[in-house]
């Protein structure tokens, strides 16, 4: 183990987002270009300044709108001269490419890396394309047992938490209710109407104990970020500094046969993150914790030490701690349950805007330290950002 923390040489110098929403009916490439050009402009750069390019997943095929343009294709369209590139294909990457980009600029392999992530799941599903998430089965062994969706695995983590710690649906609901009240303040969010605990409990059960409002919304939209060497920070309008990163994948990348439902990969990821900084959970002003299924947010809260093991249900109950003005404003964009499912990158966008004091009506006053956690189950990456040099 080294004490070097090369990720601190990286900043996010520019942030871009295309139109986002449900069933936009727009081409994936068009959305991607909108987001990328906005991010490059926001960084105070020209496309010709970009010398690194990465996304995940970079795989052939549409996969029901889960995959955007490939790195090779986007390079041609933007006519980029690259000294570093990564088309990540690993099934568990999620936000990992952001860390790879930070290490590339830290190593001097590139100066400005464009990181993008495009989803057109809402439009693709409406057009009848089969839904496909790379992490899910197609595994004939699992299909034999009627297991065809990640929600069934997420439900097992929830069942375990309810059984072992006495967590209730009324407590878990606060992940969704808190998301929704924040979404009301976010013009980009898909679902902005008030959600009550009665609505939540009455919704269709998907995989017990997870109901409809515990599951995120297939969405359309592209996000892009310029990751630059910190030497560039004076030229960037509102740079965000990377303080520390964490990644973990214990034993398996599969959702199946997970050895210990008391933990997700998040727990090892959080240990690594906090080992790379002198900051701690008490220093975090705003957090975006992955809510592809609501139970993941509870487990991230515990993994990151915002509360003790098994205490996340009482921690979120009532919503005071996790609302704007609470001790930990959480998922201030509305999260994937209400803003839309951008597979982690929506949280990166939101935390950057919070640290740049550009979060509009949902701005956390004086936010200086922000945390993003991506993935659930066997997948985990986390990033700690600040707006201080």
């Amino acid at each position: 183990v080294t004490t070097a923390r090369p990720e601190r040489q990286a900043i996010i110098s520019g942030v871009g987002r295309s139109a986002v929403g449900r069933r936009l009916g727009r081409a994936s490439l068009e959305l991607t270009l909108d987001a990328c050009l906005a991010a490059i402009d926001d960084a105070g750069l020209q496309p010709s300044d970009i010398d690194g390019l990465t996304t995940w997943p970079d795989i052939r095929g549409e996969l029901g709108g889960f995959v955007g343009p490939s790195v090779a294709y986007l390079q041609q369209i933007l006519r980029l001269d690259l000294s570093w590139h990564l088309g990540a294909v690993d099934g568990g990457n999620v936000l990992g490419v952001l860390g790879e980009a930070a290490l590339a600029v830290s190593a001097g392999l590139a100066r400005h890396v464009l990181v993008y992530r495009t989803l057109t799941e809402a439009t693709a599903h409406a057009a009848g394309q089969p839904r496909a998430v790379p992490a899910n089965s197609g595994d004939p062994w699992l299909v034999t047992y009627g297991i065809g969706s990640v929600v069934q695995f997420a439900a097992m983590w929830a069942q375990h938490h309810f059984h072992r710690y006495g967590t209730t649906r009324e407590q878990l609901a606060w992940v969704a209710l808190n998301d929704r009240r924040h979404a009301a303040l976010n013009p980009d969010a898909i679902f902005r109407d008030p959600l009550t605990i009665e609505d939540y409990l009455a919704a269709r059960m998907i995989s017990d104990p997870l109901g409809l409002f515990d599951c995120d919304i297939p969405s359309d939209g592209a996000h892009a970020f310029v990751v630059s060497h910190r030497d560039h920070h004076r030229d960037a309008d509102a740079p965000v500094f990377l303080e520390a990163m964490g990644v973990a994948r214990p034993r398996t990348s599969s959702w199946a046969f997970w050895p210990d439902l008391d933990e997700m990969a998040a727990h090892g990821c959080a240990r690594q993150l906090w080992s790379r900084t002198t900051l701690g959970p008490q220093d975090v002003d705003v957090a975006g914790l992955y809510d592809g299924f609501s139970i993941f947010t509870l487990l991230w809260l515990e993994a990151l030490g915002f509360c003790g093991r098994g205490e996340s249900g009482p921690f979120v109950e009532g919503g005071d701690r996790i609302g704007l003005g609470g001790e930990l404003p959480l998922n201030t964009s509305g999260g994937q349950l209400s803003e839309g499912r951008y597979v982690g990158f929506g949280f990166v966008h939101e935390i950057c805007q919070q640290l740049r004091n550009r979060a509009g009506d949902r701005q956390v006053t004086g936010a200086e330290v922000g945390l993003v956690a991506g993935g659930g189950g066997p997948l985990a990456q986390a990033f700690l950002f600040t707006n201080r040099t």
Binding site: L142, T144, Y145, I147, H163, D208, A256, F257, W258
Partner: protein
């Protein structure tokens, strides 16, 4: 019922499988189960029922 079963013979081994012979409301975490085999397509696969 979709379930994760840990083998008493080797706690390192977990199986994602089905509990058969019980309604969803009748299955509880921690209940001992025993193996059974059911035809699924051309093969027989291991499933579990609540131990008697």
């Amino acid at each position: 019922v979709v379930a994760r079963v840990r083998l008493a013979e080797d706690p390192d081994v977990v199986l994602d499988t089905n509990i058969v012979g019980s309604e969803p409301g009748g299955v509880r975490i921690g209940q001992p189960v025993e193996a059974a085999f059911e035809p699924r397509g051309d093969i027989h696969v291991p499933v579990f029922r609540i131990a008697r």
